[in-house]
């Protein structure tokens, strides 16, 4: 059974056809890296998966269960909103700009959703939170506010925050591209560890080193469609499509 499956999804922003028939399937524990030029729809694809955007048409399955089916911006599938919320909470999201809650400490950032959404008691939430901060190497900064943390530290807290909801799939949208170069490595190391632990991951990134070392599959997107996919080495060393080849030339 696949963790994520999309069938022919399309997304329009007004006239702008941003996703143009994306078919994607991700198996358990796969690490799928997505690359492509700016504006090709990578972020939109991730955001459609966890409903930050609604697709115009197509189907989305999570763990084999159909959770979204729309045509011409209308719901075909009627589904209980609680069911949807539960499905969406199986997907954790890490943003390019971290989006930590600035009025909460690192630890509170990790506990608030547990307490609010899952109704976990404060004590247990804090215990889980500290364990997760430990895991991302941020336990010492548990009581600091995000404004006192470097970008790399903020992103590590953001990863812990996403993990706190015990997602089965993690979505990363260019998690290191807002970081100073010397901070990139630490964040990638944590992501690699997650992958080794068996997390299913979809990672938009231009870090080809990471994609080749950790990724099980590389997808190249352009103009809202998947143009080429394969193992990272295959796609990177030996791109079949001209646009893929041009793209890799441009980022090296």
């Amino acid at each position: 059974m696949s963790m994520i499956k999309t069938e022919n999804i399309h997304k329009y922003f007004g006239e702008n056809h941003v996703l143009n028939g994306v078919d994607l399937e991700i198996a358990k524990s796969e690490v799928v890296c997505v690359v492509g030029p700016s504006g090709s729809g990578k972020s939109t694809l991730l955001r459609c998966l966890n409903r930050l955007e609604r697709i115009t048409s197509g189907k989305i399955y999570i763990e084999g269960k159909l959770i979204e089916h729309r045509e011409s911006d209308k719901n075909i599938l009627k589904i209980d909103p609680k069911e949807v919320a539960k499905m969406c909470s199986e997907l954790g999201m890490v943003f390019q700009r971290f989006n930590l809650f600035p009025h909460k400490t690192a630890l509170e950032n990790v506990t608030i959703a547990q307490e609010t959404v899952k109704k976990t008691s404060k004590e247990i939430a804090e215990k889980i939170g500290l364990d997760l901060l430990e895991k991302v190497g941020m336990a010492e900064k548990a009581n600091e506010y995000p404004s006192r943390l470097s970008g790399g530290q903020q992103q590590r807290v953001a990863i812990a925050r996403a993990l706190a909801m015990e997602p089965k799939i993690m979505l990363f949208d260019e998690p290191t591209s807002a970081l100073d170069p010397e901070l990139v490595g630490g964040v990638l190391e944590i992501m690699k560890q997650l992958a080794l632990d068996g997390m299913t991951m979809m990672v938009v990134t231009h870090e080809m080193g990471f994609a080749r070392e950790v990724g099980s599959r590389l997808i190249f997107m352009d103009e809202g469609a998947i143009i080429e996919e394969g193992t990272p080495d295959e796609v990177f060393m030996n791109p079949k499509n001209d646009r893929t080849r041009d793209f890799f030339k441009s980022i090296l």
Partner: protein, 231 residues
């Protein structure tokens, strides 16, 4: 001491007029509180309207804010007091004070509310939604607390201004601190003690508010420091 501040002048003032000053002080307080509540309600309504997708709502809010920000308070008060009766609207000075001062400061605080809404990054909603928060939970735990820290200090500054501005009601017999001080001085030609006392009374109300505003502001700036990376 001699002249305007001779000690018998103080004694006369406090013995014959202390009670009136106290009443006036309480009246200034109640006008301020009612006007502030009105201003807060108006500012939220017009502040939210100014960010609306609806062009008409935005236009109405703009007209309101520009009108009151660019019109002297004293003129507004005089117009209500002297011209409204001619069209058969007669309002007590107390009511005029509450309404006009409320409208006037509502316009300023509406701008504060607008900047508060604008300062919240869309990413905050997304981070909350992606963690499973509902809209109401997102507002309650994530958006409003951040908005309050941003909006509260300038709102407190406006509250202190509002208290001071109630003194314009002296011109229409508002029976608040300034009016009481002035009428005592006028009838006794003893101006020193009442004016100094009036100043002290305004200070007693405004100083704690301003101090609180500064404290909130410091806390806010610490909390927001370095948030640039997140926007």
């Amino acid at each position: 001491m001699s002249g305007q501040f001779a000690s018998e002048r103080w004694i006369n003032f406090f013995t014959s007029y202390g009670n009136e000053m106290l009443q006036a002080f309480l009246r200034t307080l109640s006008i301020s509180i009612i006007a502030l509540v009105l201003a807060l309600v108006l500012s939220i309504v017009f502040g939210v309207m100014s960010m609306s997708k609806n062009g008409l709502a935005r236009a109405i809010s703009r007209v309101y804010v520009e009108f009151f920000q660019n019109m002297p308070l004293l003129i507004l008060v005089f117009v209500c007091y002297n011209l409204f009766p001619l069209i058969n609207i007669t309002l007590e000075p107390f009511a005029i004070g509450c309404i006009i001062i409320g409208l006037y400061h509502g316009a300023y605080i509406a701008e504060v509310v607008r900047s508060g809404i604008m300062s919240i990054n869309k990413g905050q909603f997304e981070a909350a939604y992606s963690q499973g928060f509902t809209y109401l939970e997102t507002m309650r735990y994530i958006i409003l607390p951040q908005m309050l820290t941003i909006v509260l200090p300038p709102t407190a500054v406006q509250a202190a201004n509002l208290v001071k501005n109630t003194s314009v009601l002296a011109m229409i017999a508002g029976h608040e601190i300034m009016y009481a001080a002035n009428s005592y001085g006028y009838s006794t030609l003893n101006y020193g003690p009442p004016l100094v006392t009036a100043g002290i009374l305004y200070f007693i109300i405004c100083f704690p508010i301003s101090t609180w505003a500064k404290k909130l502001e410091r806390k806010r700036d610490i909390a927001l420091e370095g948030r640039g990376g997140e926007r």
